[in-house]
Amino acid sequence: MSQDRPSINDILLTVQKFLDDAGPTMSGEAKYHAQVSSYLLGICERELRLAGDYDRKEAAQLSEFLGSKKPLSEMTGELCENIRAGKYDNDWDQVLNMVLEQTIDKVKVVKPRHLAPMHRDAE
């Protein structure tokens, strides 16, 4: 499907800008919800832009770590079961670092400013 301009990311940023402008003129709960809505649209915009790469990277990493190739959600489930069963107790730092890396990517979508400076992308 070939859509006309603007792109989905552009639309999200445009609606987000509207909420950022309109929010401060509201009061009480509506003002708060406008802020949160803008925040959610920011997540959508970044996810559309970044999730494809992050998912591929995460799948490749998990596939190598687990030594099997399955859909991402199945591999994540397997990782969770193995952690709980204590299979990585002797490789703790390795699994911790891998999960940290994947969590950093999640945060880059949700709220990049939340990351410690050492994990932030150059702006």
Binding site: S37, L40, L96, T103, V107, H114
Partner: protein, 328 residues
């Protein structure tokens, strides 16, 4: 006269007589899952400012203490001299208002950023040492005075209870699994069990110019390890940007631990606090998962709940950075 507080007026008159009047009504906008109403009660020639709280969300998987038990814990805490809003009365079946209660209104500020802006470093330290003294007093309460707390899941095995709760959402979270595994492998030897507040964090106590005035939000009270309250208070999310001040964004750890011991609390082992702090991060991550679950599966929808679901990853990041020794 009929208005939005008609039911509260009826409940008040049942207890204080038909001359009792309520006025100066304020309804906070961010009441969360409760209906909260602040009002003046005039009866018997005096006027008091009171707060009414009613449960409006009572799903069977609601992990919080029933209102009637919260009220009893607050009553015992109040009687023992813990700063807490004075309990006034509890709603009953004849009120037809569900579960809830009325307490004295305590003036002051709960919003973290407003408190931080209003105080200098001396006042911050005073607040933190007040918190330590409050906890020492709370933890000294004889648990036999609140026997009904013994039966609740958080009192039996709080970590196991949160694992069960987490499993009930059937979501894969490797970071939370790592947190639970760490807790499993690093569990300290537990000491005597005490009455703990369970949700003692910046935002849940009232602060005035004179220091800490009241501990609020008793819906997570239970019997457990006293250091659980310290661990929760030190969780990074409750520092609200003041990340170097581990105790709720108010002070560093050492002077607060010393204040607790000086106020009669047991000696504090920093490693035990760290254990409960990591449990606190796990718990807070699960709480966010729970909000997403209620939003996606239970029809309790809204932008704030949706955002909390996504904020799970922010807590997971803090948990993993803490486990990796990069955050303290």
């Amino acid at each position: 006269m009929t208005d939005e507080v008609d039911d509260i007026r009826r409940a008040v008159r049942r207890r204080f007589g038909n001359d009792a009047e309520i006025g100066n009504v304020a309804i906070p906008t961010l009441g969360g899952v409760n209906r909260t109403v602040i009002f003046d009660l005039t009866e018997g020639g005096r006027t008091r400012r009171l707060v009414s709280r009613q449960e409006t969300y009572s799903a069977e998987d609601n992990p919080f203490l029933p209102a009637t038990q919260q009220y009893k814990v607050m009553q015992v805490a109040f009687d023992e001299g813990v700063p807490v809003p004075e309990p006034v009365f509890e709603y009953d079946a004849a009120d037809g208002m569900g579960n809830g209660f009325v307490t004295a209104f305590v003036a002051g500020e709960t919003m973290p950023q407003r408190i931080f802006r209003a105080v200098d470093s001396d006042a911050r330290l005073k607040i933190a040492t007040d918190l330590a003294a409050l906890l020492a007093k709370l933890h000294a309460i004889d648990a036999a005075k609140v026997p009904f707390l013994e039966g609740i899941p958080d009192s039996v095995d709080i970590i196991g209870n949160y694992l069960r709760l987490f499993d009930s959402y059937a979501e894969a979270h490797p970071a939370i699994e790592l947190g639970f595994r760490w807790l499993e492998r690093n569990r300290p030897i537990f000491g005597p069990r005490r009455v703990v507040h369970g949700d003692f964090r910046t935002g849940n106590f009232m602060v005035g110019p004179d220091g800490v005035r009241a501990a609020l939000d008793w819906e997570c009270a239970h019997i457990g390890q006293p250091m659980e309250d310290f661990g929760w208070l030190c969780v990074r999310s409750w520092r609200f940007g003041q990340i170097e001040l581990a105790v709720g964004g108010f002070a560093e750890r050492a002077p607060v631990y010393a204040a607790y011991e000086a106020a009669g609390g047991d000696r504090i082992d920093p490693d035990v606090v760290r254990f409960w702090e990591i449990f606190g991060l796990v718990r807070w991550a699960i709480y966010n998962v729970m909000q997403a679950y209620a939003h996606c599966e239970r029809g309790r929808r809204g932008v704030a709940f949706a955002a909390m679901g996504r904020n799970t990853s922010l807590v997971e990041y803090e948990l993993l950075m803490t486990l990796a020794g990069k955050y303290s």
